[in-house]
Subunit: 479 residues, 2 copies
């Protein structure tokens, strides 16, 4: 038996030939002397229609062909009278691989997403989740292809880490210790000498710092792997285990970093539009009627590049004009989702790359803008800020908010150490990171993209738990 | 400044034009009135030669250009008189991004691999590790490209799992519990209600079972992600954290599975030969003189397909002829590395796909061959075994041993449950796996490939710690 995938059968017009298809029954309906079986094998959202002459097939066998059953059908490829498909199959023989009882969880159409999550092992067989998973695959492929073509090397940073694990409350501890027999020292502190790694370890929250080691050797790298946050956040935007993409590039300045961010994300969205038409059309119809239009608008538009200080001015002006926000947005405040959305969706009506954030709420490793005499600083394209700023470059998207968080990294050993001191950080476990600034330091930059955020944007799905096969959230590690 | 990567400069023959290159100094030597600086930016193993007229450059600046320093050089592209490179750069101006002191760990050539591991954050800047990391990237790209072109979907199975974590001694526990305040029930058992996931969780040892959920919905999937084993193995073959590729395919039989395994691995090796010439030539010269020859032999040869029972016969015959093995190899024994290597390297002198292993030492989910009346079984191409066998299909490689472990999966609910009972397994946490055999079950198969094993084979490196950026091994979670 040489099986043909349904995606290929549907495009094949060599009518009259015999084909073998396998798949799961989506529907089975009877009409006078013929039965129609809609069969799907996951290769495409479209089903192939199998037309069965009921006189020629055993009645008992036909009865077993219920929704969810798995079949092998041998038949003749014929032109389809139905719209939207070139071909269908005139059945010659049916073999049932697996029957499917009435307790099949995906029996009924239109079940809630909450119900689907409880049956995540079976929801993959539905149209919506099939579409989402195929798009997810395509976005991963777009990412790898983009970086490969641009001379980046895929770099596997470790997941188990001894850095940064002390005192970080939102990390998962990793241990092989016998919790029934925890040895402690004289002060009552747990001894980790006998733990697997001989010290306390946890799951990484970011591969960036190791990524910088890669970039300052190989020139340009990217990570693409799982990342963990033990935050007790039960929201449609948070997962405890999610996938991140973190490119890191030597010899890149802020302008080039923004060029890269914009080019990269447009490439991904364009890939979806070019390669996931059927799935996008389905989602556009069933999930979000403005989806394809929104994707196209991102690809076709030039992103706004906006220093934070200018963003604050726009928000302040809006407040003067009567706009109400829940949270304050004075210079120095970290912008809330409502502020970002106002700028992106109402003011500019296009994606915004925000730059030059106040140092106070950005990370220690970001490149510091040049300070002025009055305590301010000069950033992107000479933009003057009333306080010290850093060369962050975050991409804000409609509906999603921050989809990319990026920055130029501080390459100066002295400035970096000054910032570490200012923040009173313990760098004992990060001696290797500091070494990059000691030995042949170089200008470099990078960004992080939450993969599921991208999938949310590209699929129009509303809940992050519905764009990953088996979500990990507080109190949920099923499957 | 528009930087040109060194890989592009070396191929450029538009002599006379001005180029900007950035990179790290590999060597700096003086010769009469000119200095030669070998600069590398990680884009290729090759350095670009920068020729400096010492009369035109500040002497103090030249002194700072030591091995490891990072430079930005502006210069004229000229034809190189040296062999093996078309172009070199006549220096116009040098900017030092970062100096590099004498304590630079990669100062000297020919340091031991053990020394390099202790400085894994800097070893990436050496020829050997640059080559290995570029090849590693290329192998990842080959894998994604192969599966994409063959209609497989990249499927992200979870890393944190509640399945299989009880009693599995070689798993890492993942917890957010306060180890100083472990609540216990009346029987003294630790209560996990208040752990992050509300139950005991650990890091996955394989994504296969979840992968089967993907395959029985999407038709063909593959995983490519980190996997964990808390084995206290200090060998050149073991990592506690490594990357695995696990394709899983619906409607595939044993013969087709072997076709896939062979085609897939040949594609990867061919990719390396086609796309990593410079790095392979370096490794062939410095690490393993038979490397390229071995890679070519794999691509050009047809793999042997050998039922386990026939393999045992060959080994027994060899023993009769005087061959000595350390471990026994009677029917029913799990083959040791020495047996596999004898078959691959001495007897067949080519890769072997071994099939139809005794049920006793293979996993519960493997498809059972048809039993015969006398307690034996019939497997691949009618091969008769003296005991019950399963449709495993492992690929054995020269030098590496088992590089792929694969099998057809048992699709029959009754047979699978029989095997689970026979092994007295607790399937409480795997109810969802059993469901695949209850609802529209189908023939399917898959395999697992340890990514680092593949990299070892393709690079000729001897120690698995040297083919991943930052290895995780017992007592070692540095970087």
């Amino acid at each position: 038996m040489k099986r043909t995938k349904i995606i290929d059968v549907l495009q094949d017009t060599q009518y009259g030939k015999t084909v073998d298809v396998c798949g799961w029954v989506r529907t089975h309906r009877s009409s006078k002397a013929v039965d129609f079986i809609a069969l799907n094998d996951g290769s495409t959202i479209k089903n192939v229609q199998v037309v069965v002459d009921t006189a020629k097939v055993d009645e008992e066998l036909l009865k077993q062909i219920t929704t969810g059953a798995c079949l092998h059908v041998t038949g003749t490829l014929v032109e389809s009278p139905a719209q939207g498909q070139a071909s269908e199959i005139q059945c010659q023989a049916i073999e049932i691989y697996g029957t499917c009882g009435a307790d099949y969880p995906m029996q009924k159409k239109g079940q809630s997403f909450e119900y689907m999550r409880q049956h995540a092992h079976m929801r993959l067989r539905t149209n919506t989740f099939g579409a989402v998973m195929r798009i997810r695959h395509n976005m991963a492929m777009a990412i790898h292809t983009y970086f490969h073509q641009h001379g980046f090397f895929y770099f596997h940073t470790p997941l188990i880490t001894a850095s940064d694990c002390e005192g970080a409350g939102n990390m998962f501890q990793v241990t092989t210790k016998n919790l029934y027999d925890l040895k402690k020292d004289e002060e009552g502190k747990i001894i980790y000498d006998d733990d697997f790694f001989g010290q306390q370890t946890s799951l990484t929250v970011s591969g960036q710092l190791e990524g910088e080691l890669g970039a300052t050797a190989l020139g340009a790298i990217y990570t693409f792997g799982p990342t963990f946050r033990a935050e007790n956040s039960n929201t449609p935007r948070h997962l405890a285990e999610f996938w991140m993409i973190e490119p890191e590039i030597a010899f890149l300045d802020q302008e080039e970093l923004m060029d890269l961010e914009e080019d990269f994300i447009k490439y991904c969205v364009r890939w979806a539009l070019d390669n996931c038409c059927d799935d996008l059309e389905f989602l556009n119809k069933m999930i979000d009627k403005t989806l394809i239009q929104r994707l196209e608008s991102v690809v076709d538009t030039q992103f706004v590049r906006l220093p934070y200080t200018e963003g604050i001015n726009i928000l302040q002006e809006a407040i003067k004009q009567g706009k109400k926000f829940e949270f304050p947005c004075n210079w120095g405040d970290d912008l809330a989702s409502e502020h970002e959305r106002y700028l992106v969706e109402e003011h500019f009506k296009k994606p915004v790359i925000m730059t030059d954030y106040p140092r106070a709420f950005k990370s220690f490793y970001m490149k510091q803008n040049q300070d002025t005499d009055d305590g301010g600083s000069v950033g992107y394209k000479g933009a003057v800020a009333p306080g010290p700023t850093m060369q962050g470059t975050d991409v804000l998207f409609p509906q999603i908010g921050e989809i990319i968080g990026g920055s130029v990294r501080e390459e100066s050993y002295d400035k970096l150490m000054g910032e570490i001191k200012r923040r009173d950080m313990d760098m004992t476990h990060l001696w290797w990171y500091i070494d990059t600034r000691r030995f042949g330091t170089c200008p470099h930059a990078g960004f992080g993209l939450g993969f599921e955020r991208l999938i949310l944007f590209v699929t129009g799905m509303q809940n992050i738990r519905d764009v990953i096969p088996f979500p990990r959230t507080p109190k949920n590690a099923e499957f």
